[in-house]
């Protein structure tokens, strides 16, 4: 049986990436040109550099992905590309190249939602994973609880009403002088620290599982400023009043508590016993540990991708693109990049993706 090879292309934020994936599950190659080192010098993404870097990197990255996979464009079944959400200028680089390749080769073009890609990273990590399952997607830009009813059929059960979880990590990390990227730095700093060194609120809404991290962020900042005042009065430094380790651990625990609680409430409501994680914050060691413990108690099967599949990559786009391809979805060459694309329900409602055999 010949397999379906999908070329995935991703350029929605910092990374320019291309990958070749067989049958949505087997990674033949995954190439990422990252600008993270460049950005950390500036404390964040520098978009003018980002767009220019995407343009410079995209063709070599695609060439390398095909070469490492030992394939040519003619071997492909389709070309999948992220078309939103993200920075339009950055998205357009990948999308334009994907359109050009689709037009030149006559291969189908398939637009993929970036979050659907993150979720699909789980198909690459766990060959046995099949919908339905619940996925917590947490990154710098997203905090979503998604019910994956079927391949390509997603319902957003909860989202953040203000800041994303990763943003909450990054902003406080910068405010307390840890630097960028905040998530990994807080994770490392918090190791072994007290998780209840001071009180922090866990916001929730009466009628919804939506997240809110803005109040938590503000409360942590207020607390930090209070420690500062105390230190000034005592003529000492802020980290003499509370250790940096305890501060980071307490803050991290509050974010993780909210993520874990809402996730398990959603599992209760949906009666699902299968959970996955996705996005850069899914690499957080405290989140993984707490989710693992809670899943064991609740009899829930939990899996998550390795770190290199949690952050932006093109293999996840190729995987999601494969299931869209099998469901018969094809996009026109007029497909446009959409900055605030919604993860729509029943996107492939016309085709019965349930019959997929892979």
């Amino acid at each position: 049986m010949t397999s379906d090879l999908i070329l995935g292309i991703e350029s929605s934020c910092d990374e320019t990436a291309a990958a070749v994936v067989a049958d949505g599950r087997v990674i033949l190659s995954s190439v990422i040109a990252s600008q993270a080192d460049l950005h950390s010098a500036y404390g964040g993404v520098v978009p003018e550099i980002a767009s220019r870097m995407h343009v410079e990197a995209i063709l070599p990255v695609i060439d390398q992905a095909l070469e490492e996979a030992g394939k040519t464009l003619t071997d492909l079944s389709a070309i999948a590309v992220t078309y939103g959400p993200g920075l339009v200028g950055a998205l357009l680089v990948g999308l334009s190249v994907a359109k050009g390749l689709a037009w030149a080769t006559g291969k189908p073009l398939i637009g993929v939602h970036h979050i659907e890609g993150h979720i699909a990273a789980n198909y690459l990590a766990d060959p046995d994973l099949q919908p339905p399952f619940l996925c917590l997607v947490v990154s710098g830009a997203h905090s979503h609880l998604v019910l994956v009813e079927d391949y390509g059929r997603n319902t957003v059960l909860a989202r953040t009403r203000d800041d994303a979880a990763g943003e909450a990590f990054d902003k406080i990390a910068r405010a307390i002088g840890l630097g960028y990227p905040g998530g990994p730095l807080i994770d490392r700093t918090a190791e072994g620290g007290r998780t209840d060194a001071f009180a922090l609120p866990r916001s929730r809404f009466a009628d919804s599982l939506d997240f809110s991290f803005s109040g938590l962020k503000t409360a942590a900042l207020n607390q930090f400023n209070r420690f500062h005042q105390q230190a000034e009065k005592a003529g000492s430094e802020v980290w003499d009043v509370i250790s940096l380790q305890d501060f980071a651990a307490t803050y991290q625990q509050a974010i993780v508590d909210v993520l874990v609680d809402h996730t398990f409430q959603a599992l209760d409501q949906t009666r699902l016993k299968r959970l996955t994680l996705a996005g850069g914050v899914a690499a957080n060691s405290c989140l993984r540990r707490c989710m693992t413990d809670r899943a064991a108690d609740a009899g829930v099967l939990l899996s998550y991708p390795p770190l290199w599949l949690c952050t932006d990559n093109a293999a996840m786009i190729a995987s999601a693109g494969y299931y869209a391809y099998k469901a018969g979805r094809r996009d026109e060459l007029s497909l446009n990049a959409t900055a605030s694309l919604e993860l729509t329900d029943d996107r492939y409602a016309d085709s019965d993706a349930r019959d997929l055999s892979i």
Partner: protein, 176 residues
């Protein structure tokens, strides 16, 4: 009722309000939206957690935009399309940008003339390219012991007449 004008102070082109809660800050944004027109620009500044996104949520509600208003820190821009008879809201965040050069390089300044209201969190980062009609709002926490209270300072240097009209409406309007 979430009244905004608990205290109202006007001095030399600076309008100062006090909000005692995040709900009041949102209510102020909702009220302010009624006094904005196409291509208006609002620059929002203030420390982390000062209420910039909350105020923007009020503006979006006041403009009739639908859907959640979340922080655009990572995406730099979140567009809220216009609803029937309303204006679009372009919600920017310059937190991660180094300067206005980065902002313009990717064409974000082109939104300023797209017949919507542009709101820019951390607008001071791109202060040098903000058009003359920009309304400036600075949010700050005055007292650590009143964690929910915020001072809202408004200046509109390019439009003194509109600021005067805004103050007049604020005095008359009891419902905001």
């Amino acid at each position: 009722m979430n009244r905004i004008a608990k205290t109202l102070h006007f001095d030399a082109g600076l309008l100062t309000l006090t909000s005692v809660s995040i709900e009041q800050t949102i209510a102020f944004g909702r009220w302010l939206a009624n006094h904005l027109v196409a291509d208006d620009i609002v620059s929002l500044d203030g420390d982390l957690g000062a209420g910039k996104t909350a105020l923007t949520r009020g503006l979006a509600e006041g403009l009739g935009c639908q859907g959640p208003v979340s922080s655009p820190t990572f995406t730099l821009l979140i567009e809220h399309p216009a609803q029937l008879g309303g204006l679009a809201l372009f919600h920017f965040d310059a937190y991660r940008l180094s300067d206005s050069g980065s902002f313009c390089e990717i064409g974000l300044d082109e939104y300023f003339t797209q017949k919507g209201v542009s709101v820019i969190e951390w607008g001071e980062v791109i202060a040098d390219i903000l058009p003359t009609q920009t309304l400036y709002i600075l949010l700050s926490q005055q007292d650590l012991n009143q964690p929910d209270s915020r001072q809202i300072e408004i200046t509109w240097p390019g439009c003194p007449d509109r600021l005067a009209a805004l103050i007049q409406r604020l005095k008359e309007d009891d419902s905001c």
